[in-house]
């Protein structure tokens, strides 16, 4: 698939500092601390020391969530962003669920059951959580939970999505954008190209496709 003909947009000028800031904000958002530092060194960009503060803590939180160590993640979140989990019940539920899954995977079934009854079932009072709660509990019924229909709850992709949500919530709590400007701009580019493609058909640019774009 052909991408957008470059001659159409060649003469648009973009400020280099804006571009750098976009890249840097992506790195900071995703807790790529060493990379951000390397970029700052390589480009000689000036950034205040504060820029990377808290990033270590956020990175640790993200990391624990990614590993499935929800208890540590929750602990650190309470330190860095008190009341955040109170205000984000869905997220809290998901994190506690992660811990439950960890216990199940380590074959600590009694502990898992006790934990679930103490911490998870209260969330079941709200209708929308019931299905998820049932999925969690059902894991206990299988000797080999990874072979159950709910095996996705054990997977690293699932943990990644929870870690991402937690990261966004922590950023939002600090009044920082919860989406990096990089993502925002790509989303905008996609939406607008779709729109133009609809309106102008062949006369307009083709809809955005990563493959075509990276090959161009």
């Amino acid at each position: 698939m052909m991408d957008f003909d470059p001659r159409v947009y060649e003469n648009v000028s973009i400020n280099d500092n804006d571009v750098r800031n976009i890249v840097l904000s992506y790195l900071v958002h995703n807790c790529f601390k060493e990379t951000a530092e390397a970029l700052l060194t390589g480009t000689g960009m000036q950034q205040s020391v504060n820029y990377l503060s808290d990033l270590d803590k956020r990175k640790a939180i993200f990391h624990f969530a990614l590993e499935g160590d929800a208890i540590r993640a929750i602990e650190l979140t309470e330190q860095l962003a008190p009341k955040l989990l109170e205000q984000n019940e869905d997220l809290h539920f998901d994190l506690l669920g992660l811990h439950f899954v960890e216990l199940v995977c380590s074959k600590k079934c009694t502990e898992a059951l006790e934990f679930a009854q103490a911490k998870l079932t209260p969330f079941g009072k709200i209708q929308k959580n019931v299905e998820k709660l049932e999925d969690f509990m059902a894991l206990l019924a299988y000797e080999e939970p990874e072979k159950s229909p709910m095996f996705h709850l054990l997977g690293s992709e699932y943990r990644q999505s929870i870690a991402d949500n937690l990261n966004r919530a922590v950023l939002a709590h600090a009044n920082l954008p919860s989406y990096s400007s990089m993502e925002r701009l790509i989303q905008q580019a996609t939406v607008i190209r779709q729109y133009l493609h609809q309106e102008l058909g062949k006369d307009g640019p083709p809809p955005f496709s990563l493959q075509a774009f990276l090959k161009s």
């Binding site: 400020n15 790529f32 060493e34």
Partner: protein, 460 residues
């Protein structure tokens, strides 16, 4: 027989390296281009372009009163604002308060085009729209209107606005939205008010006083609606990842790329490794370590090593000694002598290597700036002081980087090597926004990358 593309052949080699960066421009040029002209906004009532006889505008030009008694339908006293509604925003709005509705309250508020017959109420003629107080009807281009909202009378405040995102008119009464109607009038629109009865009088507010209607919330809601559309689009995490990586590769930040790969292996284990993804990274990663080395030389001010390395690795780049890249490198060598305080060496070098550029346009003007560094005791404080900053070194590094990339085999045009994919994406985005705005008759907010980067989006 296909000849190997030699991008540095005469003519082709001199692709616009200056297009690479705004940094070459001197400081004042940059700031002057940043100052955009603001759109004019309506601020008072127009007394020139009026029918004159049937209305009288107050001294402060913010009120109008009907003169005499109406006899028919062509003796309306309508007045327009001094200029049309600005279009480079999401919405425009203004209000009017009825001081005296007279006997029948035959007042109106709306928008009209420049040629509007001001002896008629807005809405009664083509290319106009009006919300009338006596019947609460909306008139949209003809004498017959439609039921729209409540009537309004003395002490009521009504407002009229244009929503550019939805291409609608909207009207309010006493702070409440009354309704919207599709705007199919093209071109510039003037806020218009009208009186048509004995002693009727209205006062207009173009924003100097707070509005009764919360227009800020209205605009914010509209913004959020647009953002929702964008929010809904879930992005695969790969996209950002590859674009950032491609940016780092493009500019030869090899250490940063390595760090990036390590950290993303830890932080986002699901993004396929370069080997797995099958994307053509060859282009971006071409001569990565050489480019990194060259960049490091330049950032350290070691231009001699750059010359040496380029002769060894890519002699074709330096082939034409009057090319732009040669100019940039020789200039930078000269600048480095100045930075080191070695003025005699600088002069010798200029005579040997820079003088040939005096006959080459447009390099001669830039050369003047460079040589001017000699004229000052403290050149860093002069108007050409920016040449001594690291920003200048970066610019040269980017140019060398682009030239090396351009030697890679393949059928890309030379110009395509000037920018990373990220920058291309941003240009595309800006261009597309302009096109979309054009579809809306050049109305609505103007997209600006700079604004996006510098606006912190806090959660509402």
């Amino acid at each position: 027989m296909e000849s190997k593309q030699d991008p540095v052949a005469a003519g082709k080699g001199s692709f616009d390296l200056f297009n690479l960066s705004s940094r070459w421009a001197s400081a004042w040029a940059e700031s002057s281009s940043a100052a955009k002209t603001d759109e004019e906004e309506p601020s008072y009532l127009n007394t020139f372009n009026s029918s004159g006889m049937f209305q009288m505008v107050s001294m402060d030009k913010m009120s109008v009163q009907y003169v005499g008694s109406p006899q028919h339908f062509y003796d309306v006293g309508a007045v327009q604002a001094n200029c049309p509604a600005p279009t480079r925003r999401i919405a425009y709005y203004f209000e009017m308060t009825v001081k005296n509705a007279g006997q029948k309250g035959q007042i109106a508020i709306g928008f009209t085009t420049k040629e509007f017959n001001l002896r008629r109420k807005p809405g009664w003629e083509a290319n106009s729209c009006g919300y009338h107080g006596d019947d609460g009807y909306l008139y949209h281009g003809q004498e017959k209107g439609e039921p729209f909202g409540p009537k309004y009378t003395s002490d009521d405040t009504v407002g009229a606005g244009i929503n550019y995102s939805t291409q609608e008119f909207f009207f309010t009464k006493n702070g409440e939205l009354v309704g919207t109607v599709c705007k199919d009038i093209k071109g510039l629109l003037y806020p218009t008010i009208a009186v048509h009865g004995t002693n009727e009088e209205v006062t207009v507010n173009f924003g100097k006083q707070p509005y009764r209607f919360d227009i800020e919330v209205f605009i914010l809601k509209e913004k959020l609606k647009q953002e929702e559309l964008i929010d809904k689009l879930t992005l695969s995490p790969n996209v950002s990842h590859w674009i950032v990586r491609s940016y780092l590769l493009h500019y030869g930040y090899q250490d940063t790329v390595n760090s990036f790969d390590v950290e993303s292996g830890i932080m986002s284990p699901h993004i396929p490794t370069p080997q797995e993804n099958g994307f053509h990274e060859q282009g971006d990663a071409y001569e990565l370590s050489n480019r990194k080395i060259l960049r490091q030389f330049i950032m350290n001010g070691d231009i001699d090593s750059v010359f040496r390395s380029l002769h060894e690795w890519h002699p074709q780049i330096m082939q034409i000694d009057t090319s732009v890249i040669c100019f940039l490198l020789h200039s930078q060598r000269f600048i480095e002598y100045i930075r080191a305080g070695q003025l005699m060496e600088a002069v010798k070098y200029a005579r040997a290597e820079l003088s040939k550029f005096f006959t080459i346009k447009p390099l001669d003007d830039l050369l003047e700036d460079v040589i001017a560094l000699l004229a000052y005791e403290d050149p860093s404080k002069s108007c050409v002081g920016h040449l001594l900053h690291s920003g200048q070194r970066e610019f040269v590094a980017d140019a060398v980087n682009a030239m090396v990339l351009a030697t890679s085999p393949g059928s890309k045009r030379t110009e395509d090597w000037a920018f990373s994919r990220l920058e291309k994406l941003l240009k595309q985005l800006t261009q597309c926004s302009l096109e979309r705005r054009a579809l809306y008759g050049e109305q609505g907010e103007v997209f600006d990358v700079h604004k996006v980067v510098h606006t912190r989006r806090s959660i509402v």
